[in-house]
Symmetry: C2
Subunit: 304 residues, 2 copies
Amino acid sequence: MNETAHCRTELVAVVLGLDTIAAKEPQLCVLTTGEGDGFPSGPLQAGQASLQRSLRHWVENLTGFRLGHTEQLYTFADAEDDFGNRAVRISYMALARSSAEMASWQSVYAYFPWEDRRSDDAQAFLIPLVRHMKSWVADNERRLTRCSVAFGLDGHEWNDELVLDRYELLWEAGLLPEAGSREESEAPLFTGCLGRAMKHDHRRILATALSRIRAKIRYTPAVFDFLPEYFTLLQLQQAMETLAGRRMHKQNFRRLVQHQSLVEETDLFDPSGQGRPARLYRFCEASSQNCYLAGAKLPLPPLV
Amino acid sequence: MNETAHCRTELVAVVLGLDTIAAKEPQLCVLTTGEGDGFPSGPLQAGQASLQRSLRHWVENLTGFRLGHTEQLYTFADAEDDFGNRAVRISYMALARSSAEMASWQSVYAYFPWEDRRSDDAQAFLIPLVRHMKSWVADNERRLTRCSVAFGLDGHEWNDELVLDRYELLWEAGLLPEAGSREESEAPLFTGCLGRAMKHDHRRILATALSRIRAKIRYTPAVFDFLPEYFTLLQLQQAMETLAGRRMHKQNFRRLVQHQSLVEETDLFDPSGQGRPARLYRFCEASSQNCYLAGAKLPLPPLV
DNA sequence: TCTCTATATGCTCAATCTGAGCATAACGAT
DNA sequence: ATCGTTATGCTCAGATTGAGCATATAGAGA
């Protein structure tokens, strides 16, 4: 009972990127394996390999993708199996610069349809979920507070960064198939609302990654890791919008960015658009310490 | 080379608390073992114990302290030893409510004297370090930027949350004894400036914890975990100041707190002070989602 | 060429937030 | 009663934010 457990240590990578090529609006993508139900992962190798090096090895082996800078997300432990073995899973997040390959990646918001509030569709996904949550809440005071805060009800504002809280509430309410036994009877009620499931706890890891990147882009220049060297302010704004899952006010967003001299004007223009060509800018590393990029929000419609 | 490594999994706890009893000003304390050179830690146990449960077990066994809510910090891997064994260390942070016992804990700022900028002493600790860092920077452009941002030089502002960055810079510059071979010759130059060392990477873990808690108190009501049920606004402010390591503007701080209705007035007063008795307040959980507690800063003197 | 549409970009204005400091209130000590 | 000390209330200018109007510059079509 009190003896030391030796465990298999597994490394998992969530590689995020923006697919700016396919559609008019960028898509948030993630590198998956199999049928899009898992992330590249593998055991920590012997030899002098570090955690990061092992991770790099597995991602490259399984997908051919070469990891750049990574950030640790969270470490989970499985329950023991029948042989007394257990796995410790260390998850990492990496950001990938836009490229054509991403079209073959999976859309992040396919796993969390309610998190993409750029269009009004999200509202349609969310409403049936919230209705179900209300019955789960019943008279439980604690549950009510958690739901109000997480889903922006009862006068609370929608908070982009509470991705994990929302996921966990849906899990606890038994709405997610990963949560185990749930009759299929309710399925038709939620067609398309619940998003795609993943194996093990990978969808939870993705929720953690989305929370983290949304928090990160507000106070660090992390968005620029997704963008090419030269970009228009609209591209920058749309990258923020895609990550944050909500719209921003155009003129105010430019003011915010330019005021902090986060970007540097160039003499180049992007002639591909329909209207007046947009000036191309470049990230300005020099003054990027006190970066603040959110705040130019557009109000969201209240949830019913 | 490519075979799976089975590792020992170790859990480490950084338990922080505020010692409000001893001195007039609260002290940030941490629960340590031995001579204050390590944190309570132990291997993940077999059985159905979860990570958190194992952690709890070790902390209670080694120190008698009962953990409350914990938050995962970071997972490190040691290099392999001669037998091909290695350890994975998962670190956690916990917050403890003020109590008399804390007087026997260790002061966090004894490990990072330069991080406590409430008094001007920190300046005295920091200046020799910065002087040494400048020679380490030499003409290296990258190092210069990192130092300027981390230490608030060249027009950059001091950022409380960059504890880990500062620690790592000092490490890389070879100023810290944990970093390995360093002649004692320079020691007298830095008497008392470098802070206490710890075994393994425990001091790095403490730096991670301090970074995390400083970031956390700004946007969450985490400070209240340190305070008793009833407190004065000065106590709340001093708790923030102790954690953030800097002074705040009193009147503006109250305005900030009261405007967000984060706290609730009571009819009680604290008669223990010298002047007019301060009203006691209580944490108001209801409206704590969009909490913002920093910002009422006082300017810091420029470094030289 | 002229017009229309679409996008980029500049500018204003009110409401709010922040940093700083002055003024008053209420206690104990002398 | 007076003074030192801390709590608390209030003001004011400057900066930031949310919202929207106005103008500039492109391609497409009449």
